[in-house]
Amino acid sequence: MKTEPQVMDKKMNLTIDGINVTVDEGTTILEAARNLNIHIPTLCYHEDLCVAGNCRVCVVEQEKVRNLPASCATPVSEGMVIHTNSMKVRMARKHIVELLLSEHNADCTKCYKNGLCELQGLASQMLTGDHLFLDLVPDKKYTIDMFNTAIIKDDSRCIRCQRCVRTCEELQSVSALGVAFKGNKMKISTFFEHSLFEVVCTNCGQCVNRCPTGALIERNYIDQVWDAIYDPNKHVVVQTAPAVRVALGEALGMATGKIVTGKMVAALRRLGFNSVLDTDFTADLTIIEEGHELLTRLKRALVDKDPTVSLPMATSCSPGWIKFIEHTFPEYLPNLSTCKSPQQMFGALAKTYYAQKRKLDPKNIVSVSIMPCTAKKFEANRPEMRSSGYKDVDYVLTTRELGIMIKQAGLDFEALPEEKYDSFMGTSSGAAVIFGSTGGVMEAALRTAYELVTGRVVPFDGLNIVPVRGTEDEVREATIKIENVKPEWSFLEGVELKCAVANGLAHAKTLMQNVRDGKATYHFIEVMACPGGCLGGGGQPIPTNKEIRTKRKMAIYEEDMGMPIRKSHENPEIAEIYKEFLEKPLGHKSHELLHTHYTPRKRY
């Protein structure tokens, strides 16, 4: 998005509800009111998105002006006198909420978002019990798109605020969702009203995270997981992704940015999972495999001068990114690392290595993952992901779904003790934790690869490779010079390793266009589909916005700093699995279980 340079020194004086206030020119009435702790209700407004001004619920009264301006869309002007709670305003807002309700399937007890719905919140505030207007829902031919394995779109719950449309366009540059038709028929639609399953949707779930109602929700697998837990013949293993531990607390009433790893482990155990394990373990494994893959590709390029080698190599942990590449840049599929994502590596090992070691029949193992992500649901259902001979990951739950299960079980989350993951496949390093943040996979890979090649730790204070830590504003680029290498890596002597990190698919698109157009050359790129990386994932607690993502990010790096092991290759369970099972990185077993290939999909 292009933003006009603003003259910040120009100030505006105005009065809001009798309080005089001075703000910068360009500030909206809504922002000015928030500075005064006056809360104006909003629905279409979202901090991450451009202003739409279409729901009109944030209208306020401006003296000497006939119409009520939408406070989210109206910049302050000098001498403006605003009333946010006048009789006119209250009546108008009530009418607007009533209008939305009249078009809305307000059978709240049947709705997944019951209790978390923003429209329901406003309805309860405004005491809409008397239903001023006629019910329009019977006249509408609303449809529910149930065909997708990750996201369900229910038009009968939609209030047409277009947050999802703006998310899909502005943050993700995907535009799988758009606005279609007009007037009473206007709706949020995919191309030709196809199922999300059939269009360019990446399942990133950013729309789900921003939908104020139950119109876009994740397909939830809570009941299936409970059934597995209650089934005495099943051994249910659960893995937890890095970014869940810094956000789950929010879903359970705790402050933003709290690290709740230990409580989460305790809760999972109390829910009845047979073994509580960590995706971070396979994140470390990913680093070993992916690091070797990168070095192999570099060798083929630099020593063998092999023209077929695909560089830059791109990370493959983010399933939204994978599907984006499949649709948008299929010619770059060979550039993706062949490594499966940590979730899928874990799944494949749970029904092989884990099963063998625990002497379990893999057909009785139910493998569940807790993810900050909705695309992971789609990933687990991919036909490619059955290398154990079974479905490698049976059920994927979002951070939000786990929050619901914990509430269902009646656990007082905050009061739970801090417990540790089970072993084996439960030990991990700080390098794995930072997988949850943009730039984290890159940093983790560099911590290992640099040391492998030079025998020395990365030349950054406290192992913190700050230059590759991503930012939400742009594609981050960094160059790491490799010097004084070990003899077997002599071909890398003096090589400047060029890296790029992008989060949010809009930045990813820019990055790939630059690569395609030859505007930039890199060796290694990391992409996470969601703004901020997995910590801002589509499956994370609602609300998520930049301020919240920043706090989660701080928590992730804090967790990394607090870990006794900070580098993937120093994880003792990793050494163990290679010794006992995988033999060597990129070996035969690895290829069978931990690597995969993807296929091109339709661009339109």
Binding site: V57, M91, F181, G183, M186
Partner: protein, 388 residues
């Protein structure tokens, strides 16, 4: 003003000057300040319906810094009961192009667009011929201002200026938030003057006659003449150029069929004036403004049917983005049907009146804001027809 008949004027449709683009040529010799001063003195207000002073619009745009500016002629005439722009473009397109070119000179634009409604596509070949001739003359005059015709495709809302820009940019015709206004951010987010077809002709006529001569027509608040589209229950439907500021009763005397019970002034988004108020209603910016639509209803007509027809129109033609307009129009329509059928008590009309008032003050653009005009004026004046 004459007591007997309404004053017919021949300003807009008057003959072309004896030489092609003569007024344009002479105006190009003048300074921009001079031209703006004439426009200011003429008191010209926009002819699309809203009536913003044209001189101010041009001045603001001229003063906005920027290398790239645009002139847009709004020919997306879609208001029910309005067909005067078609007539103007059919009879005097040269005057429209000249007005646009003068605007281009004043604000410093090199490019003009005419956004013509899709329903008028049949006019394009003829307009293109005149446009070719304009471009030839512009070249001779050394004027760097070209005009392109862009077509609508059947969407009433695109007559709203910011929706029109969205449409020209390849999008859905959804109105934008204002501010910013077109004078600073219009087509392609560049400073833009957008005026109605008739406004550009008025500009040319002011340049031809001078503001003093022009000012002799109309009243203090409503200078000049206006092209009216007269339809409905009238023996003489058609296009009439009349002086602004006329009382409605005299209009009805002249155009009605002797049995007129109401006149809808300004189209579906305008006001319905019942017989008892004809005498006190002045047509102009000081009274009931209009983009030119005058629809006459005699006593055989059901005002319920009229309102039902309007609301169906709005329900379909709302862009659908803002809540008050999208849902409000559906509620008003369904509501009057329910009252008529007896499914809702007559008292429900009061609830709908309040709703229309909320729509008026909260809708994002003029469409949603003006639905209340016809709704409240019809319901208030013909309540019995709504119920029984």
């Amino acid at each position: 003003m004459s007591e007997q008949t309404l004053k017919r004027v021949d300003l807009i449709f008057g003959e072309y000057s004896n030489e092609k683009y003569k007024v344009l040529a002479s105006t190009l010799e003048r300074t921009n300040e001079d031209i703006l001063q004439d426009l200011l003195e003429s008191g010209l207000r926009g002819r699309g319906g809203a009536g913003f002073p044209t001189s101010m619009k041009w001045k603001f745009t001229a003063e906005t810094p920027g290398d790239e500016k645009y002139v847009v002629c709004n020919a997306d005439e879609g208001e029910p009961g309005t067909f005067k722009d078609r007539e103007i473009l059919y009879r005097v397109p040269r005057k429209v192009f000249s007005g646009m070119a003068i605007c281009g000179k004043v604000i410093g634009a090199k490019k003009g667009y005419m956004y013509l409604r899709g329903e008028y596509k049949f006019m394009v070949p003829e307009l293109m011929r005149e446009l070719d001739s304009y471009h030839e003359h512009a070249k001779q005059l050394g004027l760097d201002f070209t005009i392109e015709i862009r077509m609508g495709s059947g969407a009433y809302i695109c007559g709203e200026e910011s929706a029109l820009f969205e449409s020209m940019e390849g999008g859905r015709g959804e109105p934008r938030n204002k501010p910013p206004y077109p004078t600073t951010s219009g087509f392609m987010k560049k400073p833009t003057v957008i005026n109605n077809v008739e406004t550009f002709v008025n500009v040319l006529m002011i340049m031809r006659l001078g503001p003093d001569q022009y000012k002799k027509l109309g009243t203090t608040d409503s200078r000049g003449s206006k092209v009216f589209s007269v339809s409905g229950d009238t023996p003489i439907p058609g296009i009439y150029e009349l002086e602004l500021g006329m009382p409605l009763d005299r209009f009805v005397d002249e155009f009605g069929d002797g049995d007129t019970k109401a006149v809808q002034v300004g189209g579906a988004s305008g006001f319905c004036v019942p017989r008892k108020k004809f005498k006190d209603t002045v047509i102009g910016f000081e009274g009931v403004p209009t983009g030119g639509s005058m629809m006459i209803f005699n006593s055989s007509r059901s005002m319920y049917n009229v309102l039902h027809n309007y609301l169906e129109f709005f329900e379909e033609e709302s862009c659908g983005q803002c809540t008050p307009c999208r849902v409000g129009c559906q509620q008003l329509l369904k509501g009057i049907v329910a009252v008529k059928k007896g499914e809702k008590k007559a008292l429900y009309l009061d609830q709908l009146m309040k709703l229309s008032e909320s729509m008026k003050i909260t809708a994002k653009c003029g469409l949603g804001q003006s639905v209340a005009n016809s709704f409240s004026s019809i319901v208030n004046n013909f309540k019995e027809e709504m119920i029984y």
